[in-house]
């Protein structure tokens, strides 16, 4: 196994209001690996992402992530909402991470073009976010995340608000982007089916305080197609994972 790009060991996170969001959370993501983090709403999945992005600090334990080192941005974040700047064109939105690192639009142009082509929006440079559908906005958001060629991509239920058809299309396109780059992904979701379709490894989180309670390996090679989504193997892993999720959230003392 290659070296871990993201590692949490015994991490606790308590918020200012006293809420204990994470307790003894340990996990790692290897360079180039695709890992899904599965759990119900409010179990601390998003908190793990924010810690990994350096947006919040840990209360106890140890964490190592590229965002916590200096230097160029190697971490990208895709939020649940597209989180685009409504006053800026698609092009300017994708330019933003490079612009913030001091690149003018001439220098950044090639990379912006490539990012827009990779999400299939090369004809929408001049469009404003308000003129796009929900799925297209999310594509812009992904193009913005990939434009810096990051080493670690953190995604917080990015497709939860989209319809099933758009969601499956974006799942496939995301895998294609992931395979074409030297990129590790940590993908937070509450969908068993989405996590199995996408990832090499699924981590199941318990409810508050959150910690990792189960790990399921998915030994299906890439590229994964629609055929994978309908295979018996896929359904078997989904069933196994559903059981693990049930077990993790069974009422205390019920078993």
């Amino acid at each position: 196994m290659s070296a871990a790009i993201l590692a949490l060991e015994g991490v606790d996170k308590r918020f200012g209001n006293g809420l204990l969001a994470l307790q003894g959370t340990s996990m790692h993501v290897a360079a180039g690996e695709f890992v899904a983090l599965l759990g119900p709403s409010g179990c601390g999945k998003s908190t793990v992402l924010r810690l990994a992005a350096g947006l919040d600090g840990i209360t106890a334990g140890r964490i190592d992530a590229p965002a916590l080192h200096g230097g160029v941005a190697q971490t990208a974040f895709v939020f649940q909402e597209p989180t685009l700047m409504p006053w800026a064109s698609v092009y300017d939105n994708v330019w933003l991470p490079l612009r913030l690192s001091g690149m003018d639009s001439d220098m950044a142009n090639d990379r912006i073009e490539r990012a827009l082509i990779s999400v299939g929006l090369s004809d929408f440079h001049a469009a404003f976010p308000g003129e796009l559908s929900g799925g297209m906005k999310m594509r812009v958001s992904i193009a913005r995340a990939l434009v810096t060629e990051p080493k670690l991509l953190l995604m917080d239920e990015p497709f939860a608000a989209l319809d099933e058809i758009t969601r499956q299309k974006l799942n496939s396109d995301l895998l294609a982007s992931w395979q074409s780059q030297e990129l590790a992904a940590l993908f937070v979701t509450h969908s068993v089916y989405e996590s199995v379709f996408l990832s090499q490894r699924v981590l199941v989180m318990s409810a508050r305080p959150g910690r990792i309670v189960a790990e399921v390996m998915i030994d299906e090679p890439y590229p994964r197609t629609v055929a994978w989504r309908t295979s018996a193997h896929y359904l078997r892993i989904c069933a196994q994972l559903t059981q693990a999720l049930e077990a993790a959230h069974a009422p205390v003392g019920a078993a």
């Binding site: 992005a53 965002a67 941005a73 974040f77 989180t83 700047m85 612009r99 913030l100 308000g130």
Partner: protein, 257 residues
């Protein structure tokens, strides 16, 4: 088309009704002049009224300009420091809630130059909407976008220019629309208090002066110029708002679709 024709027709009907009322009821012109007489009076006195109009315009736009500068600077300071806002906002509120007619006489005593006193009065009325709106606007930036700027290690200047200013713009423009009308009201109110004296006077002084001489048509002519100014300010700020926000902000998107 219908949308534009309707208010125009209403106006024409009102004016015609007014004209007819004055003629049929034989109302004397010192009580209520007909619109036609008001226009004639305006044309005949335009030379002398234009100077006063220009003076009122200078006070109005001077005060509005100062209100923009002051409102935005104070808002930026408030946005940077909550304690500063807690300390100074009550002062701004006191200024805002005190009727300008009531403090204008004091200001006219304390401030030597009448022009400066008038500017100050109009400024006090006009700056608060810009201040309070801009303070809200500077804090209204999407929290996720703020996180994104942190993740990419934006400098404070980049954050201000690329995130905070555009986020605050719709709020600032809304404040500007209110302040535009208020600065005219403030200027005229202050002129009214200052009275007809002095060489350099505005339209309010001309209305007072014409009132003393029961030159009612002239009062209406000056009033017409004030109304025209107010409408012009309203239209131009609406156009500015459309130009700045039309492409992306919900407040300027058409409501039919």
């Amino acid at each position: 088309m219908k949308q534009r024709a309707l208010p125009l027709l209403t106006f024409v009907a009102l004016l015609l009704g007014w004209e007819a009322l004055v003629r049929i009821a034989r109302i004397p012109h010192y009580t209520l002049p007909a619109p036609s007489l008001v226009l004639q009076t305006l044309a005949a006195n335009f030379g002398s009224l234009a100077g006063s109009w220009w003076f009122t315009l200078k006070i109005t736009f001077g005060a509005l300009l100062l209100a923009c500068a002051g409102g935005v600077l104070i808002a930026a300071a408030f946005a940077l420091s909550r304690p500063l806002e807690a300390a100074l906002l009550p002062v701004a509120v006191v200024l805002q809630v005190t009727p300008i007619v009531a403090i204008a006489p004091l200001i006219l005593i304390y401030v030597e130059s009448t022009t400066a006193a008038l500017l100050l009065c109009a400024w006090i009325v006009a700056f608060f909407p810009i201040l309070s709106n801009t303070v809200i606007g500077l804090r209204a930036a999407d929290p996720n976008l703020r996180d994104l700027y942190r993740l990419y290690r934006a400098t404070p200047w980049q954050r201000l220019r690329l995130l905070l200013v555009p986020s605050a713009l719709p709020y600032f423009v809304a404040g500007l629309k209110i302040s535009g009308g208020l600065s005219l009201i403030g200027a005229v109110t202050a002129e009214m208090v200052a009275g007809a004296a002095g060489r350099e006077t505005g339209l309010a002084s001309r209305i007072l002066e014409a009132g003393f001489r029961t030159e009612t048509p002239k009062m209406f002519a000056a009033l017409l110029l004030l109304v025209a100014t107010g409408v012009m300010i309203f239209w131009s700020f609406n156009a500015l708002s459309r130009a700045l926000l039309g492409r992306w902000h919900a407040s300027e998107q058409s409501v039919q679709d």
